[in-house]
Symmetry: C2
Subunit: 159 residues, 2 copies
């Protein structure tokens, strides 16, 4: 069902310089996906799609990922209401990474409750000469309470 969407990867010129849609899925069947806010440019999350998720995303215009922890398709926001509506999709030079530019109803893309998954910064440069790197919170307040939204569902984070 998904095969017709994707061209065979024939040569580097075709992949890099043509209009052929010939994405590369890794040995695990996945392609990394980078998702930014269409208005602010803020990085919201980084996830993965398999072929089926990619096709469903293209057809629906909403971000559908493949969840590695749940091992299944993952229609982002179906549970929380924070659907990611796609404004633009781009693919990179060697077609092994996808960029989704989205708007999010409600404004959150992080299961911990923050607006972006990237709510902490890492100090660098001189401060890293100290023995210990200490993360800094850049978002101070959560957009929603994960317990209210997800209840007793298992946390997707794996150690």
């Amino acid at each position: 069902m998904t095969e017709n969407f994707f061209e065979e990867r024939k040569n580097i010129k075709q992949v890099e310089e043509s209009t052929d849609f010939a994405p590369k899925f890794g040995s695990d069947g996945l392609i990394p996906v980078v998702t930014t806010d269409f208005e602010s440019g803020e990085l919201l999350m980084q996830g993965y799609m398999n072929k089926e998720a990619f096709v469903q995303t293209l057809k629906s215009g909403e971000a559908i990922y493949y969840s590695r922890s749940r091992k299944s398709l993952w229609h982002k926001g179906k549970k929380s209401g924070f659907i990611q509506k796609i404004k633009e999709i781009r693919i990179d030079d060697d077609q092994d990474c996808v960029w989704l530019r989205v708007t999010v109803n409600g404004g959150s893309s992080c299961h911990v409750g923050y607006r972006s998954c990237f709510y902490r910064s890492i100090p660098f440069g001189q401060s890293t000469n100290k023995s210990k790197v200490i993360l800094e919170f850049k978002e101070k307040e959560k957009v929603f309470d994960p317990k209210e939204v997800y209840g007793e569902e298992p946390n997707p984070t794996k150690l």
Copy 2:
């Protein structure tokens, strides 16, 4: 040498909600890296770092990746001159993805010659009902000539 930088991953609360720097490297020893332009927010590239690349990036304040095709550390821009100066580094909720916000001297981050690696868009929605997806070029002109910069070096793109 690199171990002192990273905390042991002890529990989900520590990883998601504390200031501990406890990144997760995959079974291949790599963590995905998303790199955007600090000013415009544009996605420039997506790459990977191993522990050594991560430490060197933090120490130098310049983006140093691990090249999967060359199987070695990759100081981005050392050959082309398009060094990525880091303005901010962020890490995501479960600490398995890094976001670099950079400025690029010369403005290009793509070995094909474009400003961004993501110079083509994928049509979606109704147009995908057609039998074939046709990519659309969003950048029309290259910033530099790859042949002049890289000469006869092998192209890093893998089929």
